[in-house]
Amino acid sequence: MLDQLGNGLLLGIIISVASVALSLLYGVTRIVNFAHGEIIALGAIATLFFSSPVDYRVLFLDKFSPLGLNFAFSCILAILVCGLFGGLLEVLLFRPLRKGEVGNIAVLVVTIGLSIFIRHLYLLFATGRVQNFPLELERRQTYLFFDMTPRNFNVLIAGIVVMSIVGLLLTYTRLGKAMRAVRDSEELSSISGINSDNIILFTWISSSMLAGLAGIFQAVINDVRWNMGFLILLLIFAGTVLGGIGTSFGAMVGGLLIGILVQVSVGLPFMEGHTEAKNAVALGIMILILLFRPQGIFGKKERIS
């Protein structure tokens, strides 16, 4: 059980960081971004491309060789790439849609198309193989009650630190306040002199960077796959919804809870021999939450139906 709790914390921290990113974007732009998973995968795939040894000949249809950079540097670079990608998406795709008064449902369908498109670009250029970062294997150690590798423990700590920083930035900086203002009312915030276009652009960039970080976490803990983002996307939705969509703190807690729930449910008596179905438990809980408390644990009550 405690083992599962450790695994749950690790899965939880991935989902948590990704949920905060998703929730941030939803809060400010009202876009339910189905392509979120693909930005997560971009973080992992870009890191793989930057850090793999030059003679590593699996990626990119064998046409480009990896760069073989230092791993930490690769991670930072990959996160920047994700931010750039998110910014480009906003400027080239979503801003024109917003100005063209395209409805929310249409935008949602667009993000689904975008997700399928990008995901299969990865398949084409980054192969369908399961791959790993060029890191050495480590032995598990005991931290408090949990057994995990030092690297995974660092991921856990890093995740918590990053989310605390994000929370503080959102609450106390001018930018964070502006973001929350745009979330509450785009019109009113423009009247008070906030350039809502810039705020939304900044939201896309920061949300994508966070998503990229979540992808790197996921790849360090597990592995790199072309469809890794899509596999975890529904759990991220579950985490976001559980905490209350649009609230950052809620997404943090919700993500952690979902991760722990998924892993701990493996140890439940009726789940014996049914490990495949563990995600079904989390998704079922998400549906129940939406039915009985659609605003989530921490969300404000608003019209959902």
Partner: protein, 353 residues
């Protein structure tokens, strides 16, 4: 107005015919066989898209779990008939006759629609999308997991004879002269007859008071309530109707494949059907038919193009190219032509209410 619409029908007809002609141009050898394969899939997916259109086009329900409705129909029908399933291929030799099993299968799909609809209908558009896609994923995981019933990842086999035994003689003769697979020709015929019947049924329904009330729900739910209609029940009926149609198409899809595996009813199947519906025209009854043929011509010719473009890609990657295109198609259509070939822009529900 009628003149404008009939012009669009002619346009759609011409485009679709041209695309079929393209198949003949690009495949000098064996074009007929490719066409049969393509039309079989087009028929099955088109039928499914017609069902989805009842949800999204008529009622404005954002359903992204369509694959699960198809799956429920297929699994219930197959499991009620003689079949073999699981790792050992355990044989179940007794079962219901095909038609009875089919009807129960379709009704189960509709019932699943009701089950999912009951809670989900109260949710706003984007939440409904998340719930339906999650429910479909739960269905898929359960099918994978409950191996003793559904055969799990090993799937179901030896069921096609239940349907093929009704194959009329003329299909065999016709197939022999064209080197077709007679079983596929029979599935193809069944799919297109189902489409014809469904379209006739829906056309009639659309002009009935029920159909008008349903469209009114999409336009203004409060007004419908004020007129004393039960908007929730109307939505639920629409959900069941669309799910039932999807169930039928799921059964046909299973019969088109010789064995049913868990990889059939995945989220990507839903997105295929979405692409077809948008391409054909949201809200149009006949639109998905044209959309489906056009879509499958594009898909089947993309496979060849991909083979030429990416010479050192493997099979999985080449198959990915068609999905890449599906994604692009959904995106571009939604941005530039959300009404598709035959849809009416003013009937589109694209904003969250």
């Amino acid at each position: 107005m009628t003149e404008k619409i009939s012009k669009r029908v002619i346009f759609a007809f011409v485009i679709t015919s041209l695309s079929i002609y393209l198949v003949f141009v690009l495949n000098p050898d064996g074009a007929l066989r490719i066409l049969l394969n393509l039309l079989t899939f087009a028929g099955i997916y088109g039928l499914s898209a017609i069902g989805l259109n009842v949800h999204f086009g008529w009622t404005g329900l954002l359903n992204f779990g369509h694959a699960s409705f198809m799956g429920v129909g297929a699994y219930v029908t197959l499991l009620l008939m003689p079949h073999a399933a699981g790792r050992e291929g355990e044989v179940t030799s007794t079962g219901l006759p095909f038609l009875v099993a089919l009807i129960i299968g379709i009704m189960s799909a509709a019932l699943f629609g009701l089950l999912l609809g009951l809670p989900a209908i109260r949710l706003r558009g984007d939440y409904l999308a998340i719930v339906t896609i999650a429910a479909a994923e739960i269905f898929r995981l359960l099918v994978r997991d409950l191996e003793s019933i559904t055969g799990g990842v090993y799937g179901i086999i030896n069921y096609t004879e239940n349907f093929q035994q009704y194959r009329p003689m003329f299909i065999d003769k016709f197939s022999e002269s064209n080197a077709f697979s007679p079983s596929q020709a029979w599935v193809c015929l069944a799919a297109w007859v189902s489409i014809l019947l469904t379209v006739l049924f829906l056309k009639r329904l659309n002009n009935s008071p029920w159909g008008r009330a349903l469209r009114a729900v999409r336009e203004d739910e409060d007004a419908v309530r004020a007129m004393g209609k039960n908007a929730v029940w109307l939505k639920l009926q629409s959900f069941m109707l669309g799910a039932g149609i999807a169930g039928l198409s799921g059964v046909l899809l299973a019969f088109n494949y010789g064995s049913l595996e868990t990889t059939v009813f995945v989220p990507l199947l839903t997105f295929y059907v979405w692409a077809i519906m948008i391409l054909g025209g949201v809200g149009s009854i006949t639109g998905p038919i044209f959309g489906s043929i056009l879509f499958w011509v594009i898909i089947s010719e993309t496979d060849r193009l991909a083979y030429l473009l990416f010479e050192n890609a493997n099979g999985q990657q080449l198959a990915g190219v068609r999905f890449l295109l599906v994604g692009l198609l959904i995106m571009l259509l939604m941005i530039f032509r959300p009404s598709g070939l035959l849809g009416k822009k003013e009937e589109l529900l694209l904003d969250v209410k």
